[in-house]
């Protein structure tokens, strides 16, 4: 349950961060953002939308990194791809971006794929594997331990 909450939190923070980022850099060419004579990138740093985006994305990234210590990359990575659906919804509703029906269908199929991967992960949680450092196990990469309940 905790894992699912962390995954949902990562999705929400990342999607919100990306939307803030897009709003912040809209109409700005990043490579020529600073006027001549000023400190490079200063105008970008002083943009509150960008600051908020960086904060949200940093927290999302820290949570993601932490989650990788007890979840498979092949589970966590597709699961967090659900953020793309949220991003499409945010981009359409908040940023006013036009999204064609085909792009909606593509995004929906991506979401369906992510859902299948997520459900496959849920089913195998009974035999959830925990990874411990190589020095503590016999496997040259990681040693696998099984447990019955999920934290």
């Amino acid at each position: 349950m905790k894992s699912l909450i962390v995954v949902l939190l990562i999705i929400l923070l990342d999607a919100s961060g990306k939307v803030c980022l897009s709003h912040g850099v809209r109409g700005i060419s990043v490579l020529t953002a600073s006027p001549a004579g000023s400190m490079p990138g200063l105008s970008l740093l002083l943009n509150p939308w960008l600051d908020l985006a960086i904060l949200l994305l940093m927290v999302a990234s820290l949570l993601y990194t932490s989650a990788l210590s007890w979840l498979d990359l092949s589970y966590l990575q597709p699961m967090t791809s659900l953020k793309r659906v949220l991003i499409a919804l945010f981009a359409w509703s908040m940023l006013g971006e036009t999204i064609s029906p085909t792009r909606w269908v593509g995004t929906a199929i991506i979401a369906l794929g992510v859902l299948i991967v997520g459900l496959s992960g849920q089913c195998s949680r009974d035999r959830e594997t925990l990874l411990v450092p190589a020095s503590e196990g016999s496997n040259p990469h990681y040693s696998l331990q099984t447990r019955n309940q999920h934290g």
Binding site: V30, W92, I110, L112, I116
Partner: protein, 125 residues
């Protein structure tokens, strides 16, 4: 043309970051989420892992490339295409990190690929 080059670079750098961080975190060992008692010891182990530093460097590169791309194109165009990094990361997890990837995960991965192609075709037209 620049957009596509930057997108490919974004996918490659993102995948490398994912694999490096995942490998580094699993080398460091298991830690339950949000548990403060072992946080300091766990943190010091993380800081000493060079793979994680390299992974974070690549993550920074991903962020900069994303920033650059967002100034050129719509968010709803970039993010679905960048999601191909999910598929490549799973391949990396299977063959480099030796994770067990079952049939459902591969099916989900295939669907993600189809979704990406649909979004790309629509964007090209």
């Amino acid at each position: 043309m620049e957009i596509w080059i930057a997108l490919i670079a974004l996918v490659v750098v993102d995948c490398a970051a994912n694999l490096l961080v995942a490998h580094g975190m699993k080398q460091t060992g298991h830690n339950k989420p949000l548990r403060s008692s072992r946080l300091f010891r766990f943190g010091s182990k993380l800081v000493q892992n060079p793979l994680l530093w390299l992974g974070f460097l690549f993550q920074s590169g991903t962020f900069l490339l994303l920033l650059l791309l967002l100034s050129w194109a719509n968010l709803s165009f970039i993010t679905p295409l960048a999601s191909s990094s999910t598929v490549i990361s799973i391949l990396g997890a299977r063959f480099l990190l030796k994770e067990q990837v079952n049939r459902e995960r591969w099916l989900g991965t295939l669907l993600i690929c189809i979704g990406i192609v649909l979004v790309s075709l629509n964007s090209a037209s």
